[in-house]
Symmetry: C2
Subunit: 352 residues, 2 copies
């Protein structure tokens, strides 16, 4: 049995800001069965994770591109892969049965043909809504791991102490909102910045941030941070780079720690690159460290069980922004760079 | 008995590049005795350490200025203090006797009046030439510690492994030449950059660097580093900041480490500030850390005994650049920023 299969490609590489027009919705066909002897798996996709880092894979060249999955180039016309949760429709692989819930790196499509060697695992638990396993509980063999990024970047890299002063940028985003909540659970003073008043309200009223502000309404970021952190910042969790990083460094205390999770303001060529004051970095003994959650799989079990507990007891809130259908992917993706999403951006594709 | 005492002041704060004309040689008088009941000490200065960081104290304002001794402002007309080795001429303090060799933070002068509470200690050992105690054996309660900076910054911050690839900027300077020598003693591959052919020859022929190059003769620093490090840089010991830092980051391997000891190219306002590629920092999990040797006093004994051994056995060479007389301080200081010095810059003031 063959069915139509809608999927998304890029028409050409991204050169500056991402625009919906570079994406194209295509329709192909896919067999919902596998040939005898094949170990292919056919997956009906249920939820697709939409993540900013993908823009770097869509550029023609980047010094950071390589062969690893998080950096492999996405080429025009080719199906785009990313983190997806789906249900097995047909399987030539004895480890997977029809109707198994799986997560892995599949195509931005209604159905995906998953070859031997792909990143793929069974979803063992479904205690929480399925989309959580792409976000807050982001799992350990996917490309990106919002929950683990927040947890490992904050606790493992920054080694925060109760009472320390924490600043989070893109705090209304998939990772930032979790960092702020973890920091509050530890007993830190937490300030977040975001790009809309709605997000600011959410951070303060729903997520328990001590303070939050709309960076677009701030004339002087340096001065704003001085006001929120009169004694300086101990930990800055950076999702944006650019002038926010500069202002954070200028306001850090001695032995301040910066975890660089992403630099969304620098992903499109219009964004100004950060030039943090290196003299501050020396005199205040600041550390700036980039990281990938994949390097912290050793704390995955700890992260998963603690975070699940926090979710069960309502100590941690999940913020998701869900659109429907493959057709919504281009605007969802482009919206990430305009700050349209509140929390984790997910595409819902089909009823289970 | 009163004698004439020549000393150096700044006429006004430094606004951009340091020039000799901002300095003034003054002549005062000083009593070579102390009043009964006073705990003052009069020191005849023998060697004065000339260090780039002092420029930051001579600026009108700096976000890094504070009250700590390494950052306290130097004001026009006031005697300038820095690391000095001298001999006690008269002492009202029972712990110090006439003719004791001392080191501490004294004035850029022929004689210094040292008040209670100043940074001051006896020089217990004089196995090596006295000037060594300002440089390669730079001691643990002075403002700056070239030897300890090199040792702690390299070993403690960078955690280098035998066989790793190490890049050192300002490798002909007081700290850089030691870092490269320590790295060679550990068994690393070491490349240094410097600003004259003479320094390049010294690094390769005298100090055992695997490679060295004159950055002024290189058109594309990024390309040059690619050539010297085809497999990438593991450790970059940064003394200069600016575009050298950018090129090093672009050429780093995953989990590369940058120790930022100083950023001399950014000290004067003409210097372009570093904008390292933050995406590289994330994807390659690079760490950039500023440090002060003062934070590593816990390894001082280890540093001092190992370094003394290396000096005794000739495994480590000492590179010093010595000028004579208080009058030579302005050109010596300004020369630091033009790369005039080869190795540690010291002013010799008097016969012992």
């Amino acid at each position: 049995m063959e069915v139509q299969n809608k999927y998304i490609v890029i028409k050409h590489h991204i050169e500056d800001a991402p625009k919906e027009a570079i994406f194209e919705l295509k329709t192909g066909t896919i067999a919902l069965s596998v040939a005898p002897g094949s170990d292919d798996i056919i997956v009906k996709n249920l939820y697709i994770s939409i993540d900013p880092y993908q823009i770097n894979r869509m550029k023609l060249s980047s010094s950071s591109q390589g062969t690893s999955s998080f950096a492999a180039p996405i080429n025009p016309g080719e199906a785009i892969d990313g983190a997806v949760i789906g249900k097995v429709v047909a399987s030539g692989n004895a480890k997977f049965q029809k109707d198994d819930l799986v997560l892995g790196v599949f195509t931005w499509a209604q159905y995906s043909l998953v070859k031997e060697g792909s990143i793929l695992r069974k979803l063992e638990s479904s205690e929480f809504p399925l989309s959580y396993y792409l976000g807050v509980l982001g799992n350990n063999d996917l490309l990106r791991f919002n929950g683990l990024s927040a947890y490992a970047g904050f606790f493992e890299l920054c080694k925060p102490q109760k009472g320390e002063k924490v600043f989070v940028s893109a705090a209304g985003g998939a990772v930032g909102n979790l960092v702020g909540q973890y920091a509050k659970l530890l007993g830190c003073y937490v300030v977040g910045c975001a790009g809309t008043q709605k997000k600011v309200e959410l951070l303060k009223k729903e997520l328990g941030f001590d303070e939050a502000f709309n960076y677009k309404e701030v004339k002087d970021l340096n001065y704003a941070l001085k006001r929120y952190f009169p004694d300086g910042i101990d930990v800055y969790f950076d999702n944006v780079g650019g002038e926010t990083l500069e202002a954070a460094v200028a306001n850090m205390r001695i032995f301040g720690r910066v975890a660089v999770c992403g630099v969304i303001s620098e992903y499109s060529s219009g964004g100004r690159k950060a030039s943090p004051n290196m003299l501050d970095i020396v005199y205040k003994r600041i550390s700036i460290r980039g990281f990938l959650a994949a390097d912290f799989l050793n704390v995955f079990e700890d992260f998963f069980s603690k975070t699940s507990d926090y979710l069960r007891t309502g100590k941690l809130k999940t913020i998701e922004d869900i659109s429907s259908g493959v057709e919504s992917i281009p605007s969802a993706f482009v919206g990430l760079f305009k700050g349209d999403n509140i929390g984790k951006k997910v595409i819902s594709l089909a009823e289970e």
